[in-house]
Structure formats: structure tokens, C-alpha cells
């Protein structure tokens, strides 16, 4: 076990390492609270987790959640955060926050954006206003928001693109990391993470890993994945990154994901994850269960008087039947809240059981058990078989 490393605002203590895979269970100490890893971070884009109060989120066991800089930078804006003293205070969340850089949203949500060495430029044809998001500006906004972990502005390209643009983006991301480090004012209370880029090219990824790990940042994210690329390529980039990244710093796999992804990528050595999937799918009437998903809109639920999951301790499962939820799903706002509460609890419980299995050094059994429940006919996706085999787990 490695000795805990102290950055003024972050400490990672490795509690256990799986003797078979690359999985590890850690304790991540951040300014607002301790986080157990592997951890799933739900996404509260605009300073709230879709109908859930901070108190309800706390009750689920969540220790860290995300906010999106692009949205929050527009509404309510950095100035307001300066006035109120940060997003924690603004929304009443006592535990940890992580903000992304705003770059990804700008590029994906905004139709007319242009990336130059300076930054990401957005020209709005309707009001002729020019907006420029530079590494400095991103850090400035994130400093105002005040999250415990902040992300560098990176030059993100779609993972389905290949060619010289990928190398250009990777190189630029390194230069932007340096600019972000330079601009970051609150190193004692906010941890700036680097984001490894390089697309699906192992040569480029390796260059990026080499360069970025020379910088003294408290943690690393694996970026540019989870964007619709072939999963068979995806896992290889993940495992390449975790092979290379220092063991004594947290590894954050951005935009991942579905329960299966979380289990497999934990085996590959990732510590932190985020994804809109569980909260988004809740609003569309889908609950997460050990065997996969339950669509509460389906007629089969109409007379099903069981809870979503008999073994779930969330308030939704303790009070309500599938039949009741079926009557209100997608129709009443409370349905959205009830399913979100359940899905968050599911994710928290999943991560807790991953952590416990690693600590007990029983992770391979856990993985097998989990995968069998999700794929009862053993029709495992090829990528999961390969990825797990690469860390010595044979799926039965």
C-alpha cells in the first residue's frame, strides 16, 4: 500500500488493492468531506440534482457531485458566485463538488464554435456577441464557483475522429494545462485535475500521459472517451492510461457510465466516474436494478405490486410499488423525483459493494456475480470479456 500523499487540498489513501485486477479502494480526502472510491458522481448540471434536495442527496450517501461550468457560468454567472461565496453556499451542499471546464459543453451544445490556440470562440449569430472561453477564463469561473475539484480546459475532439486533428488537440491540451496551472488562484481549496487526451491512438495517449504526469497536479482525468466510440477501443485506452498514471493520485474516467462500465473500469484501475445516465433515465421512467433496467412505463408494471427492487433501501422502494409508479411516471413531477432518488441510491449501493469487494479481495467473484445478473444468458459484450481478461478475470 502506498503512503498517503498530501496535496494541500487533496489526500489519497489507498486502503486495498485487488490481488487479481488493477482495482483499488481508496479514501479521498477533499476540503469538504472524505470520499470513498471507487466513486460515482451524479451530475447536477445547473446547481441542483433534478428535483432532489441537498438533504435527500446526502441521505443517499453521496459525497461528491458535479456542476457544469458552461451552464453555471451563464446562469447565475461567476459574479453571483463571488457575491455569495461559491456554489456550495449557493445551493446548500455541504459535501464535495467537482466542476468541468465548460469546454466540452461549449463545443457540443453550441453550434458555431471555433477552437484556436487562444481558446474556444463562440459566435452567436442571433445577438452577434462573441464569447471566448480561454484556459484562464475557465479557471477564473471555476475559482468563483469554488468546487473542490476543478478541471483543466482541454481541447476535446470527438472520439470518432481520427487524423491530425487528434494530435493537434492532444498537444494543445498539454499547453492549456500549463496555462490552467498558471491561472489557478485557489490551490489550497481547489484541486486542478489534468485531462489525458489522445483519442483512440495509443501512441498519442502515451505522449500525453508522459507529458501531463510531469506536471504536479493532484489528480488525473481520462478524457476524450465515452463519446460514442467502439467499446473495444474504449477499454484499451482506459487501461493504457491507468497502467501509466501514478498510483498515488486519483484517476477520474470522465463521462462513464452505465453500471457495467463502472464495474469493468473499476477493475481497470479507475477511481472516479460521472455520468448523466442514471438521473436522465430516471426522468424517462427507467429504474436501475441488479439485472439491468426496469421501464416503468411498460404495461407489465401496471399490476406489479412489488417495489422496484426488493433489496433496495431507498425511500421509493420502501414506500411504493411498481404499479403505483406506473400510474405517474412521466406524468407527475414526483415520479421523476422518486425514480431519481432510487437510481442515485442504486449507484451509491453499487459503488459501495464494489469498494467492499475490493477491500475483502473478492473483486473477481463480485464481477462474475454482477455480470451474471446483468447477462443471465451469458451473452456478455465482447469488450467486457476482453477488458476483464486483460486484468485476469475470466467471465464464466
Amino acid at each position: 500500500m502506498s503512503a498517503p500523499v498530501n496535496h494541500s487540498a487533496l489526500t489519497l489513501k489507498v486502503l486495498a488493492e485487488c490481488s487479481v485486477t488493477k482495482a483499488r479502494a481508496c479514501q479521498l480526502s477533499l476540503p469538504h468531506s472524505v470520499v470513498d472510491t471507487p466513486v460515482f458522481m451524479p451530475v447536477g448540471t445547473q446547481g441542483s440534482l433534478k428535483g432532489i434536495t441537498p438533504e435527500q442527496l446526502e441521505n443517499s450517501g453521496c459525497q461528491i457531485m458535479l456542476g457544469n461550468t458552461y451552464h453555471l457560468g451563464s446562469n447565475p454567472g461567476a459574479e453571483l458566485f463571488d457575491k455569495v461565496g461559491g456554489l456550495h453556499k449557493f445551493m446548500g451542499w455541504k459535501r464535495n463538488l467537482l466542476t468541468d471546464s465548460g469546454g466540452f459543453q461549449m463545443v457540443s451544445l453550441v453550434a458555431l464554435s471555433e477552437v484556436t490556440e487562444e481558446g474556444v470562440r463562440f459566435s452567436n449569430p442571433y445577438d452577434a456577441k462573441d464569447m471566448l472561453l480561454t484556459p484562464e477564463k475557465s479557471i477564473e469561473i471555476q475559482n468563483s464557483i469554488g468546487a473542490d475539484i476543478i478541471m483543466q480546459l482541454d481541447d476535446v475532439v470527438s472520439s470518432t475522429i481520427s487524423g491530425p486533428r487528434v494530435e493537434e488537440a492532444m498537444g494543445r491540451s498539454i499547453r492549456w494545462l500549463d496555462r490552467c496551472i498558471e491561472a489557478h488562484k485557489k490551490t489550497k481549496t481547489q484541486n486542478l485535475f489534468a485531462i489525458i487526451q489522445g483519442g483512440l491512438d495509443s501512441r498519442l495517449r502515451t505522449i500525453c500521459l508522459n507529458e501531463m504526469s510531469k506536471r504536479n497536479v493532484p489528480g488525473f482525468a481520462i478524457g476524450g472517451l465515452s463519446g460514442g466510440e467502439d467499446k473495444n477501443d474504449f477499454w484499451k485506452m482506459v487501461t493504457l492510461s491507468t497502467d501509466f498514471l501514478p498510483k498515488h493520485k486519483p484517476r477520474y474516467l470522465m463521462g462513464v457510465g452505465f453500471p457495467v462500465d463502472l464495474v469493468v473500469c473499476s477493475a481497470l484501475g479507475c477511481d472516479m466516474f460521472d455520468c448523466v445516465y442514471p438521473t436522465r433515465t430516471a426522468r424517462f421512467g427507467t429504474a436501475l436494478i441488479p439485472t439491468g433496467k426496469l421501464d416503468l412505463k411498460k404495461k407489465g408494471c401496471a399490476e406489479d405490486f412489488r417495489p422496484i427492487d426488493e433489496n433496495c433501501s431507498c425511500s421509493t422502494c420502501r414506500q411504493f410499488t411498481r404499479a403505483y409508479l406506473h400510474t405517474i411516471v412521466t406524468k407527475e413531477t414526483v415520479a421523476s423525483i422518486l425514480l431519481t432518488i432510487h437510481n442515485i441510491q442504486y449507484q451509491m449501493d453499487l459503488m459501495r459493494s464494489i469498494k467492499e469487494a475490493i477491500i475483502q479481495d473478492k473483486y473477481p467473484e463480485f464481477v462474475n456475480d454482477f455480470m451474471q445478473k446483468q447477462f443471465p444468458t451469458r451473452n456478455y459484450p465482447e469488450w467486457t470479456v476482453d477488458a476483464l481478461a486483460s486484468v485476469n478475470i475470466k467471465l464464466s
Binding site: F90, I328, E332, T333
Partner: protein
């Protein structure tokens, strides 16, 4: 249930206690009181743990039938009743015929059935179906099937029909109620109809009063939503109609008046002798992203001495009952919605945060507003009871009128 009138003030406002309520017959409520409105069985935007934060005054729950009708067959199979199904079994459940936030279209009730509008459209409900629903749902209180369509103002013929039919429905409901083992502990309420025709109203009241009902619902008084279409009771002779109805009703049974009545209207209705209202007003204010900010006393001192202290809790728009949180002026206002309010929203969050949430369309905005608005509205009823007890009801009316009426 047991209704005990504690006092009737000179001008008509009544204080009462309703006891022996609930599954175990051990709960008590005091009136004037407010039923917590639900939509399809949910208190809008609030999960049950949030509802619990409203305290004991959120005990009585109002379930309008239209959006629940589709669950009839499911509830029959479920067999534990709607309280259990909705995880509201520790609340008093009252099932009304119509949804008082909307005005159903006129002309769709026939002699043997009433039209209810569910999610998939119009449903025709006759007495057999209606009572079958009651047996499946097993509410604590329910309003007997009624025809509240009184036709055009002044139309005698249609008004008479509404009275006749409603009495016929009531009698048949009472028959079935008597035979029903399952409904033994439920209480049935009769509805007073008759539109705006005084004689029909008197007839309806006299006749309904003869039946063995637990209480009365005053229907067809145009007090249904939407919000801005509810006229003051002082207009169009409504006050007189209500008076004429109540003159015929026994004192020792509660009277319900549905609809999103604003505070001045609530006070006018209390003064006439109405005991029970619903919270549709608080709900509809929430739906337009506003907070209820009209003056209520934050503590239990008498109203008169508190008038001075209330300055801070009254908001910028002193002539209205509510304040819109979409107003940009709240962007950096870090005070609670109402200073001194002890609700969850006001003790944990700020105007700035709620403004942000409604501005970007986040669901939590509605949740926090609904919680505050219900708290504030239920608090208002506490204040009304206090004012009746202390004899300061008129002062309360004057304060509301001078501070908030246009």
C-alpha cells in the same frame, strides 16, 4: 368522525374540532382547516419526506377523483386501499368528485352519469361505477357523486336538474354505502347544488340536510380555477347564495368549499360559516413560479401587536398576496422567501437560489416553492383559528384588505 362546534362568532365564523379520525380513530383536527391538494395522488412536486416537514397540519389530504379514476381496476386488485397505494395511509384521505383547479366543460353530464376528465379524456361515471371506486379506494371521507353543472347563469331549468340529479345520486350512494362492509368507517358528504338560483339552492340545502351525511360540500359556486377566474365572493351575489345555503344546514356538520380562493375570499367564506377549504390556491401560485408572501403572523402573539413586526416579511409588492420569483431583482437577494418563515425552504435556501432554479427551469425550484407555499397557506389557517379564538378576526380581515387587496 365526531364534529364538535366550539364557538360561533357573532359574524358567523366557526371554530370546531373534528375528532375520532383516521384508521385508529384517534386523530383530531381543528377547523377552519385546509385539505392538502393532490394531483394523481401526489402532492405536487413533493415527495412524502418533504410533506412530513409541513407538520401535523398536512394531515388531511384532498384527492380529486378524475386523475385517479384510471387506477380503479388496479386498486381493486391491490385491495389495500388508496391510502396504502399512495403511501399516505397515515393521512386523512378525502376524495372529491371533481378537480377544483379547473373548470370542466359544461353540458356533458347526463341523467344517469357525470363526466369526469381523466388523462385520456372523458369518462362517464354512474353511481354503480362511482361506488365501486369508493369500495376499491376506501377513503376516509368522500363526496357523493354530484352534478355541479348549473348551466348558464340564471338558468332555472338546468339548475333544477343539477339539484334533482345530485339528490338522486346521493340517495343511491347512501343505499350502497349502507350495504357496504368495506365503507363502514368512511364518511359520505352531500353536495349542495342549484347554480345561482336562490330557490334551487334552498331546496338543495334543505333536502340534502335531511339525509344522513357526515357533512356538506358547497358546489357550483364558480370557485374553481384557473386562478385569475375566481371572483371575489362579494360580487355577483355569491355571498348571499352561500348565506342562504348555510341557513338551511345544521350547525353540527362541517361545510367544505373547494377552489383556489385567495386569502380575502377565504376570510369572507370563514365569516359566512365555511369550515374546510383546499390548498389549490397555494398550488396554482406555485405553478406560476411565485411564492406566497402575504402577511401571516410568524408566532402566536395576537395579531394586533404583530402588525408592526410584519413589515419585513411582507415583500416588495405589498398589494398582492404573492411575489414572482422570476423577477431579476432576486438574483442576488440572499434572504429567505419570507423573512421569519420557519419552513424548510426559508430556513435552508435563499431567494437568489430559488430565482436561479426557476430561471433555468430546474424542478427543485417548484419543489421549494410548493413546500413554502403550502407551509405559508397552512400557517394562514392557524392564524385564522387564533383570530377567531381571540376575537381579532375583523382585525385580520382589515389587515389583509389594506395590505394586499388592489
Amino acid at each position: 368522525m365526531k364534529f364538535s362546534l366550539r364557538s360561533v362568532s357573532q359574524r358567523g365564523g366557526r371554530l370546531a374540532t373534528i375528532s375520532e379520525l383516521g384508521r385508529h380513530g384517534d386523530k383530531t383536527v381543528t377547523t377552519p382547516m385546509c385539505l392538502v391538494f393532490t394531483q394523481a395522488g401526489t402532492i405536487p412536486h413533493l415527495t412524502n419526506d418533504m410533506v412530513q416537514k409541513l407538520g401535523k397540519h398536512a394531515y388531511p389530504v384532498h384527492l380529486p377523483l378524475p386523475l385517479l379514476l384510471e387506477s380503479h381496476e388496479i386498486l381493486q386488485k391491490y385491495s389495500n386501499g388508496i391510502g396504502d397505494f399512495l403511501a399516505l395511509k397515515h393521512h386523512l384521505l378525502y376524495l372529491s368528485v371533481q378537480d377544483s383547479t379547473i373548470r370542466p366543460p359544461e353540458g356533458f353530464n347526463e341523467k344517469s352519469f357525470v363526466s369526469l376528465w381523466g388523462r385520456s379524456g372523458r369518462l362517464n361515471v354512474d353511481v354503480d361505477k362511482f361506488m365501486s371506486v369508493q369500495e376499491a379506494f376506501k377513503p376516509d371521507w368522500y363526496q357523493a357523486l354530484c352534478d355541479s353543472d348549473a348551466g348558464k347563469v340564471g338558468s332555472r331549468k338546468r339548475a333544477h336538474k343539477s339539484v334533482e340529479r345530485t339528490l338522486a345520486y346521493l340517495d343511491r350512494c347512501l343505499e350502497k354505502h349502507k350495504e357496504s362492509e368495506v365503507l363502514r368507517h368512511s364518511c359520505i358528504f352531500g353536495s349542495i347544488e342549484g347554480g345561482s338560483v336562490a330557490e334551487e339552492r334552498e331546496l338543495s340545502a334543505k333536502e340534502t340536510a335531511k339525509r344522513p351525511v357526515a357533512g356538506f360540500v358547497l358546489e357550483g359556486l364558480d370557485t374553481n380555477g384557473p386562478l385569475d377566474s375566481v371572483l371575489p365572493l362579494c360580487e355577483n351575489g355569491k355571498k348571499e347564495i352561500i348565506q342562504s345555503i348555510l341557513n338551511e344546514l345544521p350547525d353540527e356538520k362541517p361545510r367544505i368549499l373547494h377552489g383556489p380562493l385567495d386569502p380575502a375570499n377565504i376570510l369572507a367564506a370563514v365569516e359566512l360559516g365555511i369550515d374546510i377549504f383546499d390548498s389549490t390556491y397555494a398550488f396554482l401560485v406555485t405553478e406560476r413560479n411565485a411564492a406566497l408572501t402575504f402577511c401571516v403572523s410568524p408566532d402566536t402573539e395576537s395579531m394586533a401587536s404583530n402588525v408592526g413586526k410584519l413589515q419585513d416579511s411582507c415583500n416588495l409588492q405589498r398589494n398582492l398576496y404573492e411575489t414572482s420569483l422570476t423577477d431579476k431583482i432576486f438574483k442576488d437577494d440572499f434572504r429567505p422567501l419570507v423573512v421569519g418563515c420557519q419552513c424548510y425552504t426559508c430556513t435552508n435556501h435563499t431567494r437568489a437560489y430559488v430565482h436561479h432554479l426557476v430561471n433555468v427551469g430546474e424542478l427543485l425550484g417548484k419543489t421549494l416553492l410548493m413546500l413554502h407555499n403550502l407551509y405559508h397557506f397552512l400557517r394562514f389557517f392557524e392564524v385564522i383559528q387564533l383570530a377567531l379564538e381571540e376575537g381579532t378576526f375583523e382585525k385580520l380581515q382589515n389587515m389583509i384588505a389594506t395590505r394586499h387587496c388592489n
